[in-house]
Amino acid sequence: MSCTVRIASPLHSYTAGASRLEGRGGTLAEVLGDLERRFPGIRFRMIDEQDRIRPHMRLFVNSQQARDLTAPVHGGDTVHVICALSGG
């Protein structure tokens, strides 16, 4: 199942500067696993050792916030990776 993943700019160094990627998977866990295979290390910036979304990162499927990695992702969905920004 193919979806679009939009990556917050603090993580662009993992994706060679790309802000929009194609992801595959039927759940957030699968989509992030797919990203990790292609961009090693990126998942750890979003997810901790207990598989929890880090508290300064938020994941949305379309406009709905995902509370955990079991959130379903359907074909054509967009997964948004949002990071707390500190700049002012």
């Binding site: 406009s63 707390a84 920004l85």
Partner: protein, 375 residues
């Protein structure tokens, strides 16, 4: 609070708007808005609120105007270089609109003073450049029941959310916890100069709406802005019942200063002060540890320790094999946050006994080498 003849002339375009009119303008005249951070966001927010006739504006900032600020902080001109931002901003706003009162707060907001400062204002605009200040201001606003219009920027990207007491989530509901250093700020990552112009102006817009009661505030919604794609997006955010400050059983009942840097997140990460690292590096020719500078290339190019190799944090997972596993390397960044993250990654990859330079190159410049340029 009625309008004078000169005020009616000045605000005529507002008076012509049925949604604002004299009643709305009088509300603006009575309003007291605190702007935290006279930087990229605070500049346009302050200028527009002053021009709009917001009766009392407070400017909180303890920095001085630096030349690198002028690319985006339009509250200041070249003649203000070196002046305290709060004071220079107050003078600029007073010149723009002598009908209003501007209060300069040239101080650092802390747990000890945030309540007293905020108590004199009806709402706050957060344009600070530190996550710790963002949480401090959020918590104080929740505890004092003040609306908060919070925005943040990074490179080409911005975020905005409005907290209205009793009507939606607070900043901590969105991001329960974050630490400075994990996320690069403008100085570390760079920022498109016009980007805070967009977000700061939106903050002023939200303030005017809340004060006058027109429109729908951005409560319970996170707005993001991507300048490169010229794309705005909106996400629903709900109040968390387990939020530490606005939840059903809050654990934060008074503003608190950020805690001291946490202990190493995993056993095996050593912490080195700048002086301790300096002692390891001299005399030359000794068994100095490898130095890995995980800042971005341009930061490294501005100034780095001799023999330090540059592997930006984002490239570290792919390049971890470049670091010998038994070398006990020292990881370095600007202030110690990214390098601690690098230590964690190195440990996970099997690198033995990584060390973190506490306080990063900023601390090195302060404690060891004042001539070291730090971007």
């Amino acid at each position: 609070m009625t309008l004078s003849a000169s005020e009616r002339a000045r605000y005529q375009r507002h008076l012509s708007l049925a949604e604002i009119g004299a009643a709305g303008q009088e509300k603006l005249k009575s309003a007291r808005v605190l702007i935290v951070g006279a930087g990229g966001l605070g500049s346009p927010a302050a200028l527009y609120l002053a021009a709009a006739g917001c009766g009392t504006l407070g400017l909180v900032d303890f920095d001085r105007v630096e030349v690198s600020n002028l690319q985006r902080q339009v509250l200041f001109d070249t003649g203000a270089l070196g002046q305290p931002k709060a004071e220079a901003g107050r003078a600029r706003l007073a010149a723009l609109n002598p009908e209003i009162r501007v209060v300069a707060h040239a101080l650092e907001l802390r747990a000890a003073n945030v309540r007293a400062v905020l108590a004199d204002y009806d709402l706050a605009i957060d344009g600070s450049d530190r996550l710790s200040t963002r949480y401090l201001v959020n918590d104080a606003c929740v505890l004092l029941g003040r609306p908060l219009i919070s925005a943040a920027i990074h490179r080409f990207e911005g975020q905005l959310m409005t907290y209205v007491p009793g009507r939606g989530p607070c900043y901590r509901c969105l991001f329960p916890q974050a630490a400075d250093g994990v996320v690069a700020n403008c100085a570390e990552a760079g920022v498109l100069g016009v980007l805070p112009g967009v977000l700061g102006t939106l903050q002023a817009t939200e303030a005017i709406k809340l004060i006058t009661g027109v429109g729908t505030p951005l409560a319970g919604r996170l707005l993001t802005y991507d300048a490169l794609e010229l794309r705005f997006q909106e996400f629903r955010v709900e109040r968390r019942r387990d939020c530490a400050v606005c939840g059903d059983a809050p654990t934060i009942t008074a503003p608190c200063d950020p805690q001291a840097p946490p202990r190493a997140p995993q056993d095996g990460v050593r912490r080195l002060t700048p002086r301790a690292l300096h002692a390891l590096l001299v005399p030359p020719g000794g068994a100095a540890p490898p130095l890995v500078d995980v800042r971005e290339r341009w930061e490294y190019d501005t100034g780095h320790l001799r023999n330090a190799v540059n592997i930006p944090l984002g490239e570290l997972p792919q390049r971890i094999a470049e670091i010998p596993r038994v070398s006990a390397p020292v990881f370095i960044c600007r202030s110690g946050g990214r390098s601690m993250h690098a230590c964690t990654l190195a440990l996970a990859a099997g690198v033995a006994s990584p060390a973190n330079l506490e306080g990063g190159m900023l601390a090195w410049a302060a404690d060891v080498d004042p001539a070291m340029p730090v971007a």
